[in-house]
Symmetry: C2
Subunit: 335 residues, 2 copies
């Protein structure tokens, strides 16, 4: 692989001249250099450039799981903006595991100019090290308990959950189960808050056995749904805290031949790609995903460009309740 020295030798100039030519400065031997570059098929070594300049033109992205359609969509938004601005994207999955996340961060610090992170828990301390190391961080969909020291692009979790709960309450439901994510996580905390607020305003209180943590996982939610069905007083509606858990619940209901919404209504936070094709089409809290990624990346790249340490910016995106057919009035028999 040819280096700048080879080009310089061939063009009969110094490396400095080649370097300058490449950066667009006016150079007498431009033609010769251009020819040499072409003949040798030279392209500058990015690693050497990084070492010299201290910039890697690379962004680290840590999400729980790209397989989750929400994060896949977010990743797409991130990547689009990234490449449009000549940055690259180093992607890693934390699997919702704070320890693994920490390893990944430590590994990535030196290789990136900035970091997009959806932390596994709000108690996470690892990101503070990043800050010390001078690596700008933007939190995506989740943030730290420590307060708003970092930039973040979030979604109106409380508002979305409240809308979903109010919708169910409006239909006449009183026994509403909530299969949520871990409450030490921004979205789960916010969603619970909105959910409880709506219930409270309607004079309702959730039974403890209806207020569950499904760990944002399909299989856990699946089991919890089965357990809910086995209860002496099963709920007439289930609100799920993310897309994966919605799938788990729907599969459980299908297995047990529970009719939706005749027997049980289901609302999910997050749309499903195939939401409209499901049996029945899913009522859900819809929200921008690609846009959320794009926004986060733009925020980060701006932050990297202007080194002026502006105070942290928090962007909160709105949600939309999409009413399809998985929700209806509660069954008479159980009321």
């Amino acid at each position: 692989m040819p280096t700048i020295h080879d080009v310089a030798a061939r063009a009969g100039v110094s490396t400095a001249t080649v370097s300058r030519y490449l950066r667009g400065e006016k150079v007498r031997a431009a033609d010769a250099v251009r020819a040499a570059v072409a003949e040798l098929g030279y392209s500058p070594n990015a690693v050497a450039q990084s070492l010299k300049s201290g910039r890697t033109a690379t962004i680290g992205v840590v999400v729980p799981d790209v397989t989750n359609p929400f994060f896949a969509a977010v990743a797409k938004g991130l990547e689009q903006v990234c490449r449009a601005q000549s940055f690259r994207m180093l992607l890693a999955n934390s699997d919702e595991d704070a320890e693994r996340e920490q390893e990944i961060l430590a590994d990535l610090v030196h290789r990136v100019d900035g970091m997009i992170l959806a932390p596994a828990t709000e108690q996470d301390r690892a990101p503070l090290h990043l800050r010390e190391a001078g690596v700008p961080v933007v939190f995506l969909d989740r943030e730290l308990a420590g307060g708003e020291l970092f930039d973040a692009v979030l979604v109106d979790n409380a508002g979305g959950a409240r809308a979903a709960a109010e919708h169910l309450i409006g239909l006449g439901h009183t026994r509403i189960a909530f299969i949520n994510g871990p409450v030490d996580t921004t979205p789960a905390r916010g969603r619970r808050e909105g959910f409880l607020a709506a219930l409270d305003e309607a004079g309702l209180k959730p039974a403890p056995e209806h207020d569950l943590d499904g760990g944002f996982r399909e299989d856990t939610a699946h089991q919890l749904a089965l357990r809910l069905l086995a209860l002496p007083h099963p709920p007439t509606a289930i609100f799920t805290g993310n897309n994966l858990m919605t799938v788990g619940v729907l599969k459980a209901l299908q297995e047990m031949r529970v009719r939706v919404p005749a027997d049980i209504s289901v609302v999910g936070f997050d749309d499903l790609t195939l939401g409209s094709l499901l049996r029945p089409p899913l009522t859900c809290v819809h929200r921008p995903d690609v846009e959320q990624g794009a926004l986060a990346m733009r925020l980060l790249l701006n932050r990297i460009r202007e080194q002026a340490p502006d105070r942290p910016r928090r962007i909160v995106l709105g949600t939309e309740l999409v009413v399809r057919e998985s929700t209806g009035k509660p069954p008479r028999a159980r009321r």
Copy 2:
């Protein structure tokens, strides 16, 4: 951010000694160095290491679109193996665009030790440059027309498509439409081959207006499906060449209130995450996805380790026809 010099100074030794200590060699001042490292919170600069060693411990991954659940699953497999072997993953989407792909490759050559690539077309010449640059490449799900010069992890496209077609033929269908991807793409070519072979054996020939290219895109497939329905002799079954197009077709059928499988049967290549929850549950050609990614990455990392230029390896994974409820006998009226 402290460097190895800072550590050396603090420990009262030379940088060489620190470097040796860090690589695990026996060093007299081990205690002092350990202490200095801890106190300064030093960690080696990966960029400098890369420059010196010529290795980046990074793998470039170029797929059409991470948002496609198949590639999301593949990406997960890739990443798992990657991290298990202390490599990182640079991810980019080509959007099925050969030109964009070429830009990405050129950009990534110097930053990676190897490359996983799902080329946009089989005519693609860009990967040959990678080979010249000494960057090992493993093709994923797709390969080049130029013959088998590269490693590749593929799937038995012809076999899967044949099974799907035979299933439909067995049910009595004779007018089967095929919405395929671009035939200058490995999977689309193979799938067409298997499809046509099965029809041929049954003494059937597809009408030209039933043999379509949906570009692997949901929206295009959607339009094509609408066009098929408007035909004087619409097909009684549709076989779709990938997951996105299956979705497009299903949505079109739903819009037009066409009953599946009463009016039209549908089989798709690729499962859908929610395949079993759809109305009706989807009959499809299922195949390993996470495993395919994991396999490809293992192949690549082995290739990087052993520099012995072994001859290219091609791995072809099997498929499985999952019969659910979207296929049935053709409607009487139309036969």
